[in-house]
Each structure stands twice: as structure tokens, then as C-alpha cells.
């Protein structure tokens, strides 16, 4: 192989490795996005059971006008 071929292969190898790093780093970055800062907690519900989910539905529905 001549010098030009080696350079071309090296450039392509860098592109491939760079591409793999780019794509593998994208997904975890999205998944680990932090939620925005939250307000002081004064009125919160829990969703431990189905009945709590329905209770929260009723609670929110009471304030729809």
C-alpha cells in the first residue's frame, strides 16, 4: 500500500471510531437528563397503588372548570 492509501484508511478509521463513540454516547445522555428544579413540596400525592392513581384523578378533576 502506498502512503495515500494508508492516510485514507486512517482517516476513515478515525471517522468510524468517532461515529461509534458519538452514537453510543447519545442515548445515555438523553436518559439521564435531570428534571428541572422543583418547588417546595406542600401538596403531593403518591402512586403506590391503583386506588391512589384514581384518587389523584378525582382530586385534579375537582378543580377543572
Amino acid at each position: 500500500m502506498n502512503k495515500t492509501t494508508i492516510i485514507v484508511i486512517a482517516v476513515i478509521a478515525v471517522l468510524i471510531i468517532g461515529g461509534i463513540f458519538y452514537f453510543t454516547s447519545q442515548q445515555p445522555r438523553i436518559e439521564t437528563q435531570q428534571p428541572a428544579p422543583q418547588q417546595p413540596q406542600t401538596q403531593q400525592s403518591q402512586f403506590e397503588s391503583d386506588s391512589q392513581v384514581f384518587a389523584e384523578m378525582d382530586n385534579a378533576a375537582n378543580y377543572i372548570e
Partner: protein, 190 residues
């Protein structure tokens, strides 16, 4: 020598594009069920579409929740954006989850009574709570605790309720739908 280099370049380009296609396909989680799920959209009723997707074990490939399908223009865009923004919340538990919902819709953790002027936010919050119930129903179908038909029955009612909220129906209409949903839920869920 030149021919050998050309083949190497072509192979390398192929590898680059293959890795790109793999990464894009992997991040959407649709994989091989895309065509099957896309065909679910051809079904006539919401319940049939929901049942079809439950059987395919996949979401709408376009990422449009069934409840957003009846909306048009900005309302539809806002509906799709609401689901996308709230996805991270469903990985959380209990108080973190409800705080996340409130955060996404623009409510604080104060009582609803103090935020009743923000009607759009309260409606969107209720949509997200209903989506929580939908997730629970889907999980039970996946776990084999209920059939896809039972799951579709419950989820279709959830979708109807969400649509009523998003279309601006009155409190009375929304409450009656929640009541009906609760009745069917108690009938179907183990």
C-alpha cells in the same frame, strides 16, 4: 493498488452508514414491529387500534398517542409535546413522579385550589395521571395478568377520557368518564 484502496474506502463507507442506521433504529425502540404497528393505524376504531398495538407490543411508530389523534393543529402538537416531555416522569416513582408531572405541565407542588386559574395545566396534569393508569394497564397485559381484549377495553376508556379533557369538555363530562373508567377497571383488574 488503487483498486484495493477504492474497495477499502467503499467498505468503510458502508460500515459508517450501517452503524448510523443501527443507532437510529435502536433509539426509537420500534425495531421489526414498525410495519405491524403502522398497520394498526388502519383499524377503524380506537379500541381496535389499541388492541392491535397491545398485541404488537409497541407504540404508534409516529409517536402520536391515541388521545392526540382526534385533535388538530396546535392542540395536536401540544398533545404530542406533552407526552414527549413527560416520558422521563414515568421512570420515576411515587412523589418524584407526581412532582415531575406537575413540573412538566407548569404546576407547582402547591394545592390545586391555589392554582385553579391555570386550567390548561390542571387539565394536562389529569391527562398525565390517566396516562399513568394506561401504563399500569399495559404492564398487566405484558405480565399476562389480563388479556389484550381486557387491556384494550380499559385503555380505550382512558383514551376517551383524555380526549374529553383535551377537547375542553366540562367537569361533569370528565367526572362521569372517570367514574365509568373506575367501574370497568375494578371489573377487569385482578
Amino acid at each position: 493498488m488503487k483498486k484495493e484502496a477504492l474497495i477499502l474506502i467503499l467498505l468503510s463507507v458502508l460500515v459508517i452508514f450501517s452503524s448510523y442506521a443501527y443507532a437510529v433504529g435502536g433509539s426509537t425502540n420500534y425495531g421489526s414491529t414498525t410495519n405491524q404497528t403502522a398497520s394498526c393505524n388502519d383499524k377503524a376504531t380506537a379500541r381496535e387500534r389499541i388492541e392491535c398495538r397491545l398485541k404488537a407490543n409497541s407504540a404508534d411508530p409516529a409517536g402520536v398517542d391515541e388521545s392526540c389523534r382526534v385533535l388538530n393543529g396546535t392542540k395536536k402538537d401540544n398533545c404530542v409535546a406533552l407526552y414527549q416531555a413527560s416520558q422521563r416522569c414515568y421512570e420515576m416513582t411515587n412523589k418524584d413522579k407526581t412532582s415531575c408531572f406537575r413540573n412538566v405541565v407548569g404546576l407547582t407542588n402547591q394545592a390545586f385550589n391555589e392554582q385553579r386559574d391555570n386550567q390548561d395545566a390542571i387539565r394536562n396534569y389529569l391527562v398525565l395521571v390517566l396516562y399513568e393508569a394506561q401504563e399500569r394497564a399495559e404492564d398487566r397485559v405484558k405480565a399476562g395478568e389480563i388479556t389484550t381484549e381486557e387491556g384494550a377495553r380499559v385503555i380505550a376508556l382512558i383514551v376517551e377520557t383524555k380526549q374529553a379533557i383535551l377537547k375542553g369538555e366540562s367537569q361533569q363530562v370528565i367526572k362521569s368518564k372517570i367514574l365509568e373508567l373506575r367501574r370497568v377497571w375494578n371489573e377487569v383488574m385482578p
